[in-house]
Amino acid sequence: MVEKTLEKSWEQLNQLLESYRCTKGSMIPVLQQAQEIFGYLPKDVLIKISKELDVAISQVFGVVTFYSQFHLEPRGKNIIRSCQGTACHVRGAKAVLDAIRERLGLKDGQITTPDNEFTIETVACIGACGLAPCLMINDDTHGRLTAESVAPMIDKYYNNKK
């Protein structure tokens, strides 16, 4: 089963590369969509992109590590982006982040839960300052959070497996 989906992913990647052939400035959109397909950017995928776009692998790696959006490690099914912007900072974003980490049982430095359900990252501002402190889970924005309210909200995504 797993192998079959992986095969399909590679097929999608080939189509993607085909559609961007001879388009200038295509590296970032290709990487973004490749990450959509695979969930992250494995080494083999980067090598393939480097060959097909005719860009040195070092350059591809340079781009991937420059932008915070790209990931070289597998990530959870649900992505939590905890906002640590100024408005959220002065309204207690740190306490919310701590509460999430505690709820997910993450140890120091860990960002993905062992069951691969959740990955948590911090972002500088998601532009929803009116609702500070706020966060995004996948594409949903949640605001006016407190350390108490955030745990039940995350639980909803646990039950709501994709």
């Binding site: 200038k24 400035g25 295509s26 590296m27 970032i28 959109p29 990487l31 973004q32 350059q59 340079g62 781009v63 420059f66 932008y67 915070s68 959006q69 790209f70 982006r81 640590q84 912007g85 100024t86 408005a87 900072h89 002065v90 309204r91 972002v123 500088a124 501002c125 998601i126 532009g127 929803a128 300052c129 009116g130 609702l131 500070a132 706020c134 995004m136 594409d139 949903d140 924005t141 949640h142 605001g143 006016r144 350390a147």
Partner: protein, 596 residues
């Protein structure tokens, strides 16, 4: 179009959607259909009103009644009372924080009353998914006027006459920028809209992109006509999925209507637009870094000159403006430069949108004429400080800006007065801080941000911000020593002078401006080992007061067993063991635990 007797406007911007606006919208449809009102009342999804704090927002016309924090459970009551019986549901009205008065009408609320909404005029009033509504609100009239009745040179001249200055931070005159690019030779030129709004605490661009996407397209098209470009890019943050969706839709609609694409208005003028999603790097808000990112590389700035107007995207002449700047353009060409230039001060024309956030009652977007005082923005529009606390300072311009203390609250808000006060307009984020905010902590926060977003290309920024941050961490954690303040100042000046791009050149500003106005707080941290605002955990402890009834709850939550005491007797905290996590204070139902 069918005539209806009432319009229900529901905001479905990012803020209101997060507060549940989509469910409210669905419930309105269901209720209206069930009560057979669907043919006489129209429900409209709108963009952001800039008052996300009070969302989900529902406005009912013709009366203009403004309902705030509307929940699904409230919908039936609104339909029964307001729509059927014509009675206002007063419990859902907005309450003025300063006077506690309920205000039924949208236009009477102090937050909106003092504003001058030119750029944000359409936001929240038209359906952003409909090009017809934008055209109905005089949209694309400016483009028609420019393309059909003016030469490109006249368009540039008109822009110069407005005195409009770039709204993204730098404040460079937009007309001049267009002129430089128009004069650059070459058949191929580009127009870029910088929608990589990265300043923490600024969200006016998001609101504009979501609430009035066609205005940006129109502004860009006018610019393209003026400088002779036929291709453009909107570089938008990936963190704004709704904005990207609405932009894509707007581009498709405009192409279908012949307002973008080939031979616009039947003239020899073509303009195609693409969207590029950012990949999460703050430095890409810098124009040369942004272009490097569109080209597909690492988003690193390069030295200027050559300026983008001469050698920009793929080495072709390029004009880059910010979202808010482009959003001003359609209005300018509708009313003319002279009319526009009546607003504002001598050197700062027009209006500016500010994002009010932090410890302020009315969090939201405020568009005001340039030259209004900071006091009016914070106290009249913003409704003053939360929980009746005392105002301390306002940080303007995000991580590149500075703070303005109470004694300077009457400073007029324009580009030059702000620079004189040691701050800058920046993108227009205003973060209000009260007496409970530690200014050293704020400086540390901003430096932490710029340090981690530094691209690493030039040494002053890469190394300098790191060293400054280390010193600030030491100061806030009790390891500050004599001479640190002077060292910070010296390093700050070197970074300002030596960094390659605006990110580095402005990174020390928060430190310099807090040092200028709150030097005593730095001194208290270093010499007296105390944090006057009780924020820096190294200096604070927790105490149990006589309010304690001995319930023992604090004892159970303490992770390090630092609390002791018999049941029903007063408990005590052992300061040696205490790790200052504050869990006990949160848990105590009697508010018997205090910080200090």
């Amino acid at each position: 179009m069918a005539l209806v007797r009432a319009h229900i406007l529901i905001c479905t911007g990012t803020g209101c959607t997060a507060s549940g606006a989509k469910d409210v919208l669905a419930k309105f449809e269901q209720e209206l259909k069930a009560k057979k009102l669907w043919d006489e009342v129209s429900v409209v999804e709108t963009g952001c009103h800039g008052f996300c704090e009070a969302g989900p927002l529902v406005i009912i016309y013709p009366e203009g009644t403004f309902y705030t924090r509307v929940k699904v459970e409230d919908v039936a009551e609104i339909v029964d009372e307001h729509i059927l019986k014509g009675r206002v549901v007063s419990r859902l009205l907005f309450k003025e924080p300063m006077t506690s008065q309920k205000v039924p009408n949208y236009s009477d609320i102090a937050f909106y009353k003092k504003q001058h909404r030119l750029v944000l005029g359409n936001c929240g009033h038209i359906n952003p998914d409909s090009i017809e509504e934008y055209i109905g609100a005089e949209g694309y009239e400016g483009l028609a006027k420019a393309v059909l009745t003016m030469t490109p040179e006249q368009v540039v001249e008109e822009m110069k006459k407005t005195g409009l200055r770039g709204r993204g931070g730098g404040g460079f005159p937009t007309g001049m920028k267009w002129m430089f690019c128009a004069k650059s030779p070459g058949p191929k030129k580009y127009v870029i809209c910088n929608a990589d709004e990265g300043d923490p605490g600024a969200f006016m661009d998001r609101s504009l992109l979501e609430g009035d996407p066609h205005a940006i397209l129109e502004g860009m098209a006018i610019c393209a006509y003026a400088i002779g470009a036929d291709e453009g890019y909107i570089y938008c943050r990936a963190e704004y999925p709704l904005a990207i969706k609405r932009l894509k839709q707007a581009i498709t609609q405009a192409e279908e209507a012949g307002l973008l694409g080939k031979n616009i208005f039947g003239k020899d003028f073509s303009f195609t637009l693409h969207i590029k999603e950012g990949a999460g790097a703050f430095v890409c808000g810098e124009e040369t870094a942004l272009m490097a990112s569109i080209e597909g590389g690492r988003g690193m700035p390069r030295p200027r000159p050559p300026f983008p107007a001469v050698k920009g995207l793929w080495d072709k002449p390029t004009n880059i403006n910010n979202v808010e700047t482009f959003a001003n353009v359609p209005y300018i060409f509708r009313v003319g430069a002279e009319e526009y230039a009546k607003l504002g001060t001598e050197k700062s024309k027009g209006t500016k949108v500010f994002a009010l956030t932090g410890k302020i009652n009315n969090t939201g977007l405020a568009e005001v004429p340039m030259g209004i005082s900071m006091r009016e923005i914070i106290f009249d529009i913003g409704g003053g400080i939360m929980d009746g606390k005392k105002f301390k300072a306002v940080q303007i311009g995000g991580p590149s800006g500075g703070c303005i203390p109470e004694q300077l609250l009457d400073t007029p808000v324009d580009y030059d007065s702000l620079i004189a006060a040691g701050a800058m307009m920046g993108s227009g984020g205003l973060v209000v801080m009260d007496e409970g905010t530690c200014m050293v902590d704020v400086a540390k926060f901003f430096l932490n941000f710029t340090q981690s977003e530094s691209c690493g290309k030039c040494t002053p920024c890469r190394e300098g911000t790191k060293r400054m941050l280390e010193m600030l961490i030491d100061i806030t954690e009790g390891r500050g020593k004599e001479g640190d303040i002077e060292k910070l100042e010296r390093l700050a000046k070197s970074i300002k002078a030596g960094a390659l791009c605006a990110l580095g050149q402005t990174a020390p500003n928060p430190v310099l401006s807090t040092l200028r106005y709150f030097r005593d707080e730095y001194e208290a941290h270093i010499y007296e080992k105390r944090c006057p605002a009780n924020v820096c955990t190294a200096f604070i402890g927790y105490k149990i007061t006589d309010k304690c009834v001995g319930c023992g709850l604090c004892k159970t939550v303490c992770p390090v067993d630092a609390i002791s005491g018999e049941p029903k007797g007063k408990h005590t905290i052992d300061p040696e063991k205490c790790i200052k996590c504050g869990a006990c204070m949160v848990k105590c139902p009697f508010k018997a635990i205090i910080r200090g």
